[in-house]
Assembly symmetry: C2
Homo-oligomer: 387 residues x 2
DNA sequence: TTGAAAGCGATACCAC
DNA sequence: GTGGTATCGCTTTCAA
């Protein structure tokens, strides 16, 4: 940076008076009555406000940012505020963040292709998180559509916005190098909500295996020994499906004679019907169906195929949705408890203000089984078993 | 947990003052090979890359934006790209948008408090829309947490980001003046997806009354005359609930003796049970239950209360969710067809490039009834009646 | 083929 | 109390 001969003496005088526009008197766009004094041609800027109020840009900045105490007279302040109001002035976030070096933006990153598969739990979290962030003065935006599948490309796309923090959810691509890109570009906090974090990132972990383990523990203690585990074929879900399957396997390993079998299932009636049709061949007596929606779908198909639930097939879902209680028998479900939106927002705020905090994994999650009719059974199956 | 590539030292801001003065840099003789040194203290900028590659910032800009054809030699281009790669350079979106005047940002505005109530249809649309926008070169972000309830405050918050377009969904606050704020601050397109647009905004309209009307037409043609209409008590939903109720009323007006009655219902089992318990007192013989989820909830409660569905109560939902087909009888539902994410993205792109396009309402939506068991009944009830 | 330099809009330090 | 003005990072014209 060599300002050197700066200044260059170009006061308000000669500079090419009109901005690029010059021509083409923009026709009055608005339908309603046009505001009286529309002096400027482009959007109103701090400069327009200053001109309009007859003060300098510096004064405008002080007044509009509440730093005018003792510096600017009451009368001037009123003038400035009136001018801003009249012109419909709104500060330019990009300019501000360029100057200040921080954007106040918190990116919630989600891969677009898995979003449709998320349920009310996800949606509710995002909404609550955005509200909570707002209280801290940040502005949280959900950024789906991860460019390509390459974690690095995704990270670059996020980094362009210079977010104060990035919260990656579920299947968002995140690798060591991509965390590095973000950190290097000024992002103070990179937090992974759900999956284990990439190197360098903080994590709010929910071990998906735990979910499978809880479900399996319940089924096994109920006397079931041949457990099917639904692994959705839909895009992106395998990221959860496989660990949950592993969790079931791990739990079953302790029971001699126990058998675990993955079951591919698409979220469609015919796929469920097909699986139900060959249920008896599989020799299974229980199924952990990934989540409540798949569980409902499968349970219905089993019943339609004449399979008794829970007699011939105990069914367990996850997420504990209200709708699961509407079927008969009611659906047993693993309820997953993750940190609340408010807690996550608090963490993010802390990490932003203390960027040097060494990456850590925050484990405050748990999984409980809500036992209902669909898994009643052979043996007992205690209620409220937790892990 | 391996810290990967060191990187621990991050921002270390505060470098204010004291320009480089040309010292430092120059590694002590020898070791001329790779310069692994991380010269800059802050995030890498276009300037760092230029220095690192031994060229000017202008050249860097040309190369990295693909405008180097015929201007910059191949060798220089390689040098620049290598430098950018090595430094982990990512352009600063704010600076670029400040200079270029456009941000390429498309804001998808949703009031945070209603988001949790939205189903897979909403989530799927947003995901698809973001992907589609990406193909057009925009970056779509979902901005919930509308500050306060004041449309003007919300508009100001959005306008700070200088988005190229704003798509307001469902219950987002939008008024004439708030559209004006956005337009004034440079937003080319303000589009309302769902509700009728505020003055000055474009609209992709789905007349909620139509949905109620389609449901009612089906029930009436099936011989039902006493129709209950569920109006959810949950936050934000009344914005849809009331128009749908109106639609039912309008359709019923044509049938002498027809009666329409609003039914408050919370999304909880006890609320549904309570309503079911007094079903017979109400003298109703049919219910349009707002959407499939409320319909499922209510239908189950009715059945549990010993009310025959569809005999004593025909039930109609909306959204045509897969889960609705799992209950017995299967749920009759109004399927709503709105323009696809791709179509909306195309419209938004057009409006951004032709900002002077006069506001218009694009009606490409329709509602059809999917007749299933839950509304079978007294009379006939044709299949696939559309509006 | 490359570089110098003028801004885009907002902030904050330092004179007046 | 106010006003100049350097600066953030980047694009782009014009000159060399």
């Amino acid at each position: 940076m060599v300002p050197a001969t700066g200044t260059s003496a170009v006061p308000a005088g000669g500079t090419s008076g009109a901005p690029p526009t010059g021509t083409s008197a923009a026709p009055p766009t608005g339908t309603a009555a046009a505001p009286p004094a529309r002096a400027s041609l482009g959007p109103p800027t701090s400069t327009s406000v200053a001109r309009h109020a007859g003060v300098s840009r510096a004064t405008v900045s002080y007044v509009l940012n509440g730093l005018a105490a003792g510096r600017v007279s009451e009368a001037t302040q009123r003038k400035v505020r009136a001018a801003a109001e009249e012109l419909g002035y709104v500060p330019h976030a990009a300019a501000r963040s360029l100057r200040s070096g921080t954007s106040g933006l918190v990116l919630i990153a989600v891969p677009a292709d898995t979003v449709p598969a998320f349920g009310p739990l996800f949606t509710g979290f995002v909404a609550g998180f955005q509200s909570a962030l707002q209280e801290y003065g940040y502005i949280g935006v959900l950024h789906g559509a991860t460019a390509g599948r390459d974690p690095l490309d995704a990270a670059r796309a996020w980094a362009e916005l210079r977010p104060a923090a990035v919260l990656t959810m579920d299947g968002s691509p995140l690798s060591g190098p991509s965390v590095d890109i973000l950190k290097r570009s000024g992002t103070s906090a990179v937090v992974s909500y759900g999956p284990p974090p990439a190197p360098g990132a903080h994590g709010i972990a929910m071990d998906q295996r735990e979910i499978g383990a809880v479900a399996a523990a319940h089924l096994l203690s109920g006397g079931r020994r041949h457990i099917g585990v639904v692994v959705p074929v839909e895009h992106g879900l395998s990221m959860f499906g496989m660990p949950r399957l592993e969790g079931v396997r791990a739990a079953a390993a302790a029971f001699p004679g126990a058998r675990v079998e993955p079951l591919a299932l698409a979220y469609a009636e015919d796929s469920a019907a097909e699986l139900a049709a060959r249920w008896r061949e599989t020799g299974l007596d229980a199924v952990f169906a990934y989540n409540d929606e798949y569980a409902m779908l499968l349970m219905r198909a089993l019943q339609d195929a004449g399979i008794d639930v829970p007699g011939e097939a105990a069914v367990v879902g996850a997420d504990d949705l209200l709708l699961g209680r509407l079927l008969r028998p009611r659906l047993t479900s693993v309820r997953i408890e993750l940190p609340t939106p408010g807690e996550v927002a608090a963490l993010v705020d802390r990490l932003i203000r203390e960027p040097e905090t060494p990456p850590a994994v925050h484990r405050r999650s748990s999984a409980h089984i809500e036992v209902r009719g669909s898994s009643g059974g052979l043996g007992g199956g205690g209620a409220g078993v937790s892990v």
